[in-house]
């Protein structure tokens, strides 16, 4: 039967279970808020980066309207409220800055179960924008062919060569190719040759958007100016995606900074709560501290005892807070996704090990600082005076 520091400290937590629970809960709430914020920041930033990579374009040309909505529709798939004239494509292609201009006509067909079939009319030029795409089969060229996203094909058991009928499109269609999983919205899309889509969707000579890859991405601003200055410039919205995503990040960053300040204040308040709880414990256990000093505990032993107690409370709060953040991440993700003007398809909340370690490290640092005053006060008590203090004073 040999004692240890952690044994002494753990048992001490049971002396006032309600006080211990409230103190730990205070830390846990603050840590959960900070962890969720950091996880969101990491997830959103990463998601935006991946979206940009997947899109493969530097500029998105869309009908007039909100650029955030347009980017969201182009990336995630939906029906467009208005259209571009197909003739604008030639004007865009004519500009010397443009390496590739891939036209698209997109439409979405909602289903009773809440899902939707997104049909995209495109040309083979889209393959130049999507270096990450791997096809089984080939891109559709005949009017009755289509390319299915990996998830769409898998869920229906489609393979290359399968002939299928779709409610959304007239006539039978042959699967010319199946896209290997890309981890984005493309996995759920159906691609048709552009002309076939314009015919079947009844939007002849219309486009919903043009994906533009530049010869020199470092000259994005000049290219955007030239695109806006062409004849069709007044009728289309030229959205530089890097700038758009940077603006989104900036908007999020400002909100996150404010929320981080609130969370930090909560964490500091929780730290003050821990400090106060342990100071109360020192006051209540003054006579016991005197007894411990009488039977051989040094001032540093007493300091260590109370300091470890504070660290344990903080660590407990930190672990609980991370558990809460992990458990609530799905709910937070869903809540955010419903409210953000633009949400990447990838997970928005990514509670990575690095964030967990950062939160735990921060909590331990807070506990160290919060525990210093009570531990120092306990260690400085005169054994003679402490032992004369009434019990529980």
């Amino acid at each position: 039967m040999n004692l240890s520091w952690h044994h002494l400290v753990l048992k001490e937590g049971r002396r006032r279970p309600l006080r211990t629970a409230i103190t730990v809960a205070g830390i846990a709430i603050a840590v959960a808020a900070i962890a969720a914020l950091l996880a969101f920041q990491r997830g959103y930033q990463r998601g935006l980066g991946l979206e940009l990579d997947r899109l493969g374009a530097h500029v998105l040309v869309v009908p007039k309207g909100c650029p955030f909505d347009a980017a969201s529709i182009a990336l995630h798939g939906a029906s467009w409220p208005c259209y571009l004239k197909a003739s604008y494509l030639e004007e865009v292609r004519a500009l010397p800055d443009v390496a590739t201009a891939a036209p698209a006509l997109m439409s979405a067909f909602p289903k009773p179960d809440g899902s939707q079939t997104v049909v995209v009319g495109a040309t083979e030029e889209i393959l130049r924008l999507k270096p990450g795409w791997r096809l089984e089969g080939r891109f559709p060229t005949a009017p009755d062919e289509l390319l299915a996203g990996a998830e769409y094909a898998r869920s229906r058991g489609w393979t290359v060569g399968t002939v299928v009928s779709l409610e959304e499109l007239p006539g039978p269609r042959r699967i010319a190719g199946v896209l290997e999983p890309v981890g984005g919205a493309d996995d759920g899309f159906l691609y048709l040759p552009l002309e076939a889509a314009q015919r079947d969707l009844r939007h002849d000579h219309a486009l919903t958007h043009i994906l533009v890859r530049l010869r020199d991405p470092s000259r994005l601003d000049e290219a955007v100016q030239r695109l806006r200055g062409c004849n069709a410039g007044m009728d289309m919205n030229v959205v530089p995606l890097t700038h758009l995503f940077r603006t989104l990040q900036g908007m999020m960053g400002a909100t996150q900074l404010w929320l981080a300040c609130v969370a930090m204040v909560a964490l500091l308040a929780a730290g003050a709560g821990v400090s106060n709880a342990v100071l109360m414990a020192v006051a209540e256990r003054t006579r016991e501290i005197g007894v411990l000093r009488a039977i051989g505990a040094s001032a540093s032993d007493v300091f260590r005892l109370f300091w470890l107690e504070t660290l344990l409370l903080s660590l407990g709060g930190g672990v609980l807070g991370l558990a809460v953040a992990a458990a609530a991440s799905r709910a937070v993700e869903s809540w955010l996704r419903d409210r953000l003007p633009f949400a990447p398809a990838d997970p928005l909340v990514r509670l990575e090990p690095g964030i967990a370690l950062l939160c735990l490290g921060g909590t331990l640092l807070l506990g160290s600082v919060a525990g210093f005053l009570p531990a120092w006060r306990a260690a400085r008590l005169s054994p003679r005076e402490a032992i004369r203090t009434p019990a529980g004073a």
Binding site: M1, L3, L8, E288, G290, A294, I295, A297, P383, A391
Partner: protein, 235 residues
């Protein structure tokens, strides 16, 4: 039973060194603008293995003297030797080590840690000395007759049992000197008698005991009494 104190170091002449030698010991405290002399010119000697009672009315300086003997306080006058070592000028860390290794304390209020079991309370002095405790805890719980209660917590014990745990704890590090401050003060007479018998057994085993008490039976059981009045040892 292994309750024997530390073997006293032999003096140069080969005779046993006294457990306590106080010469002109005094303690005064400032109280506002006054200085209170709680103990004045106390000179006495306690031999190793002796059972001594410090008696006197309230405010006579008994606890002050016990605090000085237990290195809980430093004298403002005179010298104090414990086991041949001059202790009056020691620093607080040195006095802590002395308390831990050479002195056992028993308090009127028992002073047990409520969150720890009986065995863990007994082991505390060894823990602070960074020594293994298991075997010694077993011996001491056997000595005080509480082996069956080793996993109980203080609130599950009677007053007499709590005091026996406190005595076992005081003996943990083989002290030179056991100091008890009113050890029967919170106990009924029957339980007090059982503590007295335990002290007598420890004394018979060679332990040096100094007890501050108002209990006439306990004082009478001591081999010698040091009467105090107004901070002075009475002749």
């Amino acid at each position: 039973m292994s309750t024997a104190p530390h073997a006293s170091s032999p003096s140069a002449a080969g005779t046993a060194v006294a457990a306590v030698v106080a010469a002109g010991l005094g303690k005064s405290y400032p109280r506002g603008r006054e200085t209170v002399e709680a103990l004045k010119e106390a000179s006495f000697e306690i031999r190793s293995g002796e059972f001594v009672a410090i008696v006197g009315p309230s405010g006579s300086g008994k606890t002050t003297l016990l605090n000085l003997l237990g290195c809980m306080d430093t004298p403002t006058a005179g010298t104090l030797h414990l086991g041949g070592q001059e202790v009056s000028g020691l620093s607080e860390p040195e006095r802590t080590r002395l308390r831990r290794d050479r002195i056992g304390f028993v308090f009127q209020h028992f002073g047990l840690v409520p969150t720890l079991t009986v065995a863990e309370n007994v082991a505390l002095p060894a823990f602070f000395a960074r020594r293994p405790a298991a075997q010694r805890v077993d011996e001491l719980l056997d000595t005080v007759g509480l082996s069956a209660r080793r996993n109980h917590r203080p609130h599950e014990l009677s007053g007499g049992e709590m005091q026996r745990v406190a005595i076992a704890r005081a003996l943990m590090n083989h002290p030179l000197l056991l100091l008890a401050d009113e050890p029967t003060g919170n106990l009924d007479s029957e339980t007090g008698d059982s503590i007295l018998r335990l002290f007598q057994r420890l004394h018979a085993a060679g332990l040096t005991l100094v007890v501050v008490t108002h209990n006439p039976a306990l004082a009478a059981a001591a081999a010698r009494r040091i009467p105090l009045r107004d901070g002075r040892i009475q002749p």
